[in-house]
Amino acid sequence: MKLRANLVIGGALFALAIAVGLLAPWLAHTDPVLDANLMNAEEPPSWTWWFGTDDQGRDIYSRVVYGARVSLTVGIVSQLINSVIGVALGLSAGYWGGWWDDVVNALTNLMLAIPSLIFALAIMAVLGPGLTSLLIALGLTNWSFTCRIARASALSLRNQGYVQAATVLGYGDFRIMITQLLPNMLGPIVVIGTLGMGSAVLSEAALSFLGLGVRPPFPSWGSMLSDARDQITTAPWLSVFPGLAIFLTVLGLNLLGDGLRDILDPQSRSRRT
C-alpha cells in the first residue's frame, strides 16, 4: 500500500502546483507586480498578508502563486524537450547500433562531462535572459540521462523474442521502435522524466537566482529567493515561502515518478488487482 501512497501524495502535490498556476488570477489577493505599497513593506505573515510582504510591500502569497506559472512551465516544457531528444537519440542508437551509436554515445559523454547548469548558463549568455531562452537552455542540456537509459533499454530489448518476432512479422524499424521498444522502456523514462522536471524547477530557480531567468519584476520562485537573500535574517518569510513552494513541487514530482513506475509495469499492476 506504500506504493499507492507515494503516487497519491506525489500526484496531489503536483496537481496542486498545476492548479495554483492555472488559477493564479483567482487565487492571488493582489497583483504580483503592480500592487506595491511601501507602507506595507516587510510585513510578517498575518491574516491580511498570509506569507508576509517584501521590501516593496508586495504580497508574497500572490507572488508565490504567480511564480508557479514560471516554475511549472519551465519544469514541464524543458523536461519534455529533454525526454523527446533523449528518447529519440538513445532508442535509435541502441536499436541500430553501429556508427550512429558511436555518434550518440560521444554526444552523451560530452553532455555528461560538462555540468548541465554551466552549459545552460552559456546558452543563456548567448540567448539573453527570458522565459524562452530559459526553456531552450534547460531543454537542451539535460537529456543525457534519458538518452543513456533509453539506449540501455533498447540494447537489451532488441534481443527479446517479441522484438525479433515483430521483425519476422514484417514490422518496419520505426514501427518496432514505437510499438515494441518504446512502451517497454516507458517506465524508467517516465520516472527519469518526473525527476528531471524536479531538477528543471531547481535549475530554473538557480538561473533566476543568478539573474538569468525571468526578468524582474515578474515573479518566479528562483528570482524571489534571489531578491530575498539580503533580508534572510530580518525577513525570513521572504525566502521561506518560495523555498517551500520549490521543495513541495520537487518532492511531489519525485514521489509521482516513483508511483508511476509502479503502475506502469503491467506485471505489478495485475498483482495488485
Binding site: Q160, G161, Y162, A166, L169, G170, T179, N184, P266, S270
Partner: protein, 326 residues
C-alpha cells in the same frame, strides 16, 4: 509433387564470416514446398536448419549472409529483394512462429492489439475493423471467451494459450507459408499435441504450407508429408515421412531412427542399450572433407573421405546424399 512449387530453394549456401575468413554454415541446400504442403526439416543443433529458415524470410544478419543459390517464392526470386519488399512479404505471405511463446509476445501490449496490428500493418485495415478481426482470429485458435481474452496481457495467459495467440498472429493475414521453428519445444507434451493439431488443421483449412523445423524426427514425421534431414549444413536425405522410418537410406538417418526408443522394443524395456551415433557433430569451422558424416559413419570408405557425394534420386522416391546408399 503436385502443382507449381510455392517455395523453391536451389543450391543455397549460407556464409559465416568470422572476421578473417568465410566458412559455409550451410551449402547445397535445395528443396521445394508446394502450396498447402507440410515439409519438415530435421537436424541436430547447429546443423543449419534455423539459418535456412532465416534465409527464407530474409533475416540473415551479419556475420551470416547468403553466399550463393536461389530462393524462389511463388515463382519470383526473393533473395535479392530490397529490405522493404522483403518486409512486405514477412508476416503477410510468409509467417513464422517461434520456440518460446513466453518471450515472443510484447509484455506491455494486450494480445488482441498485437493480433490487430497485423491487420493494420499488412491489410491496411482501420483499428476498429482490426480489433473485430482480432477477436475472430483468437476464436479460430480456440481460445475460450476471445472477446474478453483480447484485453489480456501475455503474462496472464498460459504457455499453451500464448502459443495459440502466436499462431493467431502468424496466420492473421492468411500467409501462404508458415515457418514453425521448434513450435512446441517449450510446452508440455499434452499441450504440444493440441498445438500441433491446431496448427495442422488451421493450415489445412486455409491451404497454408508449413515448413516445420525441429530436432524431433518423430514429431516432424507425424506432422509433415515430406521430411528432409540435415547434417552439418547439408541436406543428407529427403523422403516421404512414412519411408524415412521404414527404410532410411542415409547412414545418419538410420542412426537417428535407431536411436529413437520404440515402445515395446528391448531397449525401451531396459534389456538392451539404446543405439547411438558415435562421435559428435563437427564444428562449423572444421567440417571434414568429402561426406561430412564420414568420421562417424560405419560404412565409410576412402571415397567418402575425399569426394562430396552428389544427391541421388531413390527408386522408392526421395533424395539421398551418400556414396553407399542402399
Amino acid at each position: 509433387m503436385t502443382g507449381a512449387p510455392l517455395i523453391e530453394v536451389e543450391d543455397l549456401r549460407i556464409d559465416l564470416d568470422d572476421g578473417s575468413r568465410r566458412v559455409a554454415a550451410a551449402e547445397g541446400v535445395s528443396f521445394r514446398i508446394s502450396r498447402g504442403e507440410t515439409f519438415g526439416l530435421v537436424g541436430e543443433s547447429g546443423c543449419g536448419k534455423s539459418i535456412t529458415a532465416l534465409a527464407l524470410i530474409g533475416l540473415l544478419r551479419p556475420p551470416l549472409s547468403i553466399g550463393a543459390g536461389v530462393i524462389r517464392f511463388d515463382g519470383k526470386e526473393i533473395q535479392h529483394l530490397s529490405a522493404a519488399r522483403q518486409r512486405d512479404l514477412r508476416g503477410d505471405r510468409i509467417a513464422m512462429i517461434f520456440q518460446e511463446p513466453m518471450t515472443a509476445l510484447n509484455p506491455v501490449s494486450p494480445v488482441g492489439r498485437q493480433i490487430a496490428e497485423m491487420f493494420v500493418l499488412h491489410k491496411g485495415k482501420s483499428w476498429r475493423e482490426a480489433n473485430r478481426l482480432a477477436v475472430e482470429a483468437l476464436a479460430s485458435v480456440r481460445v475460450p471467451a476471445p472477446e474478453r481474452r483480447v484485453n489480456d496481457y501475455p503474462h496472464q495467459l498460459s504457455g499453451g494459450m500464448r502459443q495459440r495467440v502466436m499462431i493467431a498472429i502468424a496466420l492473421a493475414c492468411g500467409p501462404d507459408l508458415l515457418i514453425a521453428d521448434e513450435p512446441t519445444t517449450a510446452l508440455d507434451v499434452t499441450v504440444q499435441a493440441e498445438i500441433i493439431e491446431l496448427m495442422r488443421n488451421l493450415c489445412a483449412e486455409r491451404g497454408t504450407a508449413i515448413l516445420m523445423i525441429s530436432h524431433d524426427l518423430g514429431l516432424v514425421a507425424n506432422v509433415c508429408r515430406r521430411v528432409a534431414v540435415m547434417y552439418a549444413g547439408r541436406i543428407v536425405e529427403e523422403r516421404g515421412s512414412a519411408d524415412i522410418f521404414r527404410k532410411p537410406s542415409h547412414p545418419y538417418t538410420q542412426g537417428l531412427v535407431d536411436s529413437l526408443p520404440r515402445l515395446g522394443s528391448r531397449a525401451a524395456l531396459g534389456r538392451s542399450r539404446l543405439k547411438e551415433i558415435a562421435g559428435v557433430v563437427p564444428a562449423i569451422t572444421s567440417f571434414p572433407d568429402g561426406c561430412r558424416f564420414n568420421p562417424r559413419c560405419v560404412h565409410a570408405t576412402d571415397i567418402c573421405r575425399t569426394i562430396v557425394p552428389e544427391t541421388d534420386l531413390l527408386e522408392a522416391g526421395g533424395l539421398v546424399r551418400c556414396h553407399h546408399h542402399a
